[in-house]
Amino acid sequence: EDQVTQSPEALRLQEGESSSLNCSYTVSGLRGLFWYRQDPGKGPEFLFTLYSAGEEKEKERLKATLTKKESFLHITAPKPEDSATYLCAVQAVRETSGSRLTFGEGTQLTVNP
């Protein structure tokens, strides 16, 4: 069974204080790993797709990296508007296009001004 574990569950940072969120996964053949952002009362919003170990993607203050066992979401000099829950998801190669993503429980990030 595919599993995704995110840590920490919650993270509180001061504005400008860089940190990383972790996503550990167990899947029989990784097709892709995905990061989403979810604001309170809203649906998740897509951030990144990573397909192979060593791959990196960047968007503003966020950088996602991937190894064979985990992914990190690095947040550089965060701002209060980066406060959200960050979700990680994986898809196994056995899953067909348009089917299931396995989501982790998320990391709730709070950035204080």
Binding site: Y36, G43, E45, G98, L101, F103
Partner: protein, 114 residues
């Protein structure tokens, strides 16, 4: 551009009642999904559809039914509601083919079964 629209936003049901959660998208996406999100748990796939007339079960389909008669609409039917179905329900859609994993989510329906 509305994207994915879900109605209602909130609903309280009594045990044994039935209801339909509505979902419509205006992006001409072939793929559509229903997920549920419980506190402290990841999103779980209930049903998905790769096109009009085609639906398939996800991870947690029991107690739910879906239909897909048009590209735009993907309603989720709850029959004989149970307290275990108290959750936040999200509908999503995506392109087919390359990049399908970029899901566009609606804002959710918060359902309580009492």
């Amino acid at each position: 551009n509305a994207g994915v629209t879900q109605t209602p936003k909130f609903r309280i049901l009594k045990i044994g009642q039935s209801m339909t959660l509505q979902c419509t998208q205006d992006m001409n996406h072939n793929y559509m999904y229903w997920y549920r999100q419980d506190p402290g748990m990841g999103l779980k796939l209930i049903y998905y559809s790769v096109g009009a007339g085609i639906t398939d079960k996800g991870e947690v389909p029991n107690g739910y039914n879906v239909s897909r008669s048009t590209t735009e609409d993907f309603p989720l039917r709850l029959e004989l509601a149970a307290p275990s179905q108290t959750s936040v329900y999200f509908c999503a859609s995506s392109y087919s083919g390359v990049g399908w994993e970029k899901l566009f989510f609606g804002s959710g329906t918060q359902l309580s079964v009492l």
